[in-house]
């Protein structure tokens, strides 16, 4: 009787020790869900969701603070991906909130630019090259279209140019055809 108890207690202690050890040894740094959500977000870092970047928004979603329908650059597809990932219902963009719009990149009118570096400081992805009193210009390939540089410009020389469709970016349409109606 006692022997059995000792054996069971021994096993419990041994397993507890293993579990305790692995809990420390294999501890997961940070919340892995945040990274998963962050991987789905478009990384425009535009702050339209009300958070200062994609990672903070991902953190807010992970903690249940924020809704999944606050990311206009991700579009409805983005919401769908988030819904899939989190196992929740799809939720359309709310009325009166920021809506998705066509992809655009910033453009600096170099005739007007005074080289104040304010946009440089605003750009979340360092996609503007320039220096104080030197011409600034957008590195188009790196621009995420977040529009954060537009407001700080004191001379309003930055505009958002929609990306034109080219033979390189063109996509095949979803086939639409009519089924024959049954007689």
């Amino acid at each position: 009787m006692l022997a059995a108890l000792y054996v069971m207690a021994g096993i419990a202690i041994a397993l507890g020790a293993v579990l305790g050890f692995s809990a420390i040894k294999f501890k997961v740094e940070g919340n892995p869900l945040v990274d998963k959500i962050d991987a789905v977000l478009p990384q425009t870092q535009c702050g339209q969701c009300g958070y200062p970047g994609c990672k903070p928004y991902a953190t807010a979603i992970a903690t249940g603070e924020a809704d999944i329908n606050r990311c206009p650059p991700g579009g409805e597809d983005g919401i769908r991906k988030l819904a899939d990932l989190l196992g929740v219902e799809f939720k359309p963009f709310g009325e009166g909130t920021a809506q998705p719009k066509p992809k655009a990149v910033a453009f600096i009118d170099e005739n007007i630019c005074i080289g104040c570096t304010l946009c440089l400081q605003a750009c979340p992805v360092d996609a503007i090259s320039g220096a104080a009193k030197q011409m600034h210009t957008i590195i188009t390939q790196e621009c995420t279209g977040c529009e954060l540089c537009v407001a700080p410009c004191p001379v309003d020389c930055i505009s958002m140019e929609p990306l034109p469709q080219t033979t390189q970016t063109w996509k095949w349409d979803y086939p639409v055809y009519t089924l024959r109606q049954a007689a």
């Binding site: 990384q43 425009t44 870092q45 360092d126 033979t167 063109w170 095949w172 979803y174 055809y177 089924l179």
Partner: protein, 554 residues
Amino acid sequence: MRSLHRFHGGVHPPEHKLESSERPSARAPLPKLLALPLQQHIGAKAKALVQAGDKVLKGQLLARAEGNLSAALHAPTSGTVLSVEARPVPHPSGLADLCITMAPDGEDRWAEHAPIDYYSIPKDALLAKLRDGGIVGLGGATFPTHVKYASAPVNTLVLNGAECEPWITTDDRLMRERAAEIVQGIEILRHLASPGETLIGIEDNKPQAIAAMRQACAGTGIEVVTVPTLYPTGGEKQLVRILTGKEVPSGGRPFSIGVACSNVATAYAMHRLVNHGEPMLSRLVTVTGNVKTPQNFEVLLGTPIADLVQCAGGALSGSSGYILGGPMMGLHVGDGQLPVVKSTNCVIVKSPSLFPPTPPALPCIRCTRCAQACPADLQPQELYWFAKARNFGKAQEYNLFDCIECGACAYVCPSHIPLVQYYRFAKSEIWAREKEKKAADAARVRHESRLERIERDKREKAEKLAQKEKAALASPSAQAPSSVPAAGAPAQPAPAQDLINAAIERARQQAALVKPKNTENLTPQQQAEIAEIEARRAHIREVAHHHETEPPKE
């Protein structure tokens, strides 16, 4: 007799080859205007070297290859460059792309050109010549040939003369009329690829071409293999399978199994470039369908297809647009001003009687006839299902990207479902998403490194400030002002208040003794630094200010 192998599936659409195959090829007249798209190949767009108003000679370089995966573009005839502008190009989108337009002067004057002695130059140099000569695969995919042969040697070199698609007869005519030149081109490919064996696969519906090639290949060690007529035998992977029995692995290229495959027309173009110094300027194009005299033409690149149709006696009444390529895989277009490009092997004039509109589609009944017909051994009905549901991950699991878009599935589908359209839609959607993902990842990295940089700057500034404060704190108490330049030195542990007081005391005593001497012995640099620190001190907040001003007061 070589034993042949089989690929899975395949279909037998009506051939319609005799319409154009029995007339000898002719040279199309010079058009009034040539439009040369800068992108006529897979890879990076060529970079234009000319501008409006430039006079160019035949064979002169108009646009150079940009990077390795690209090909050059040359003036097909002498004339004047009219513009470099966006114009409609043969592309399924119907969008405009950059083209060089030129007006021929009718003189057809050659620029200087010379044959290449390919045996005496290194292979790298020869590959570069192919790129600069604008040589791309003429089987339809227009993959730059120099990239294909960069990883030679191979075991087997396969020359594709199958020409399995209905209506098209360019390779047939080319092999009949220019067999010897093709063989000379194959010799260049053999030099590049050093293959163990060289095979030419030709479908058995082209007996004259087979005979001509056999005759030209006599004594060269090149074997002409007759393969059964079955669509899509001319697919690269399918022909390799038939001739060698080897299957190109999923997502791979023939090179990964030691096979190189090129079209016979590519070999001919290489012969023109290497043995005559003539870059890729023209190609043989079948003009057929609803025209008066279907025929093959040697056409300058950039010729409008409407001009070409005129050469064949013009379109007959009831014509309704064109197909560039064959009816199975070709591009349906309406604009007759679209130019002939390197991939244009055939122009079919459509008419409702020749190509009746597909009947309305019915729901999929899961009969799997498409799976029986698929030459890539896929499950088209499943791919259709997943593409339709936009379930792209699942479509990729079912090897969507091994689909060669041959259209055999749609051809046999009893419900007339436009299957290939679904696969194209799914593929381009997946590509776009991958691109977006890559861009997002790049943006994430840039954003994170920016945050890190800002953080680091802040930290460094704070450290510097702390050091300055310490220096400021130490300087009046130090033995003399000469110790001030130590401001930039590593921080020392914070001194206790009594130590400070003692130091202040000591400093005051010493200062009273040796003050004049110490201020005189400073180097200009030290003085400058002192001045700088004094200036900064004025700006440092209360504590520093307090310590700085207090001792003299005491």
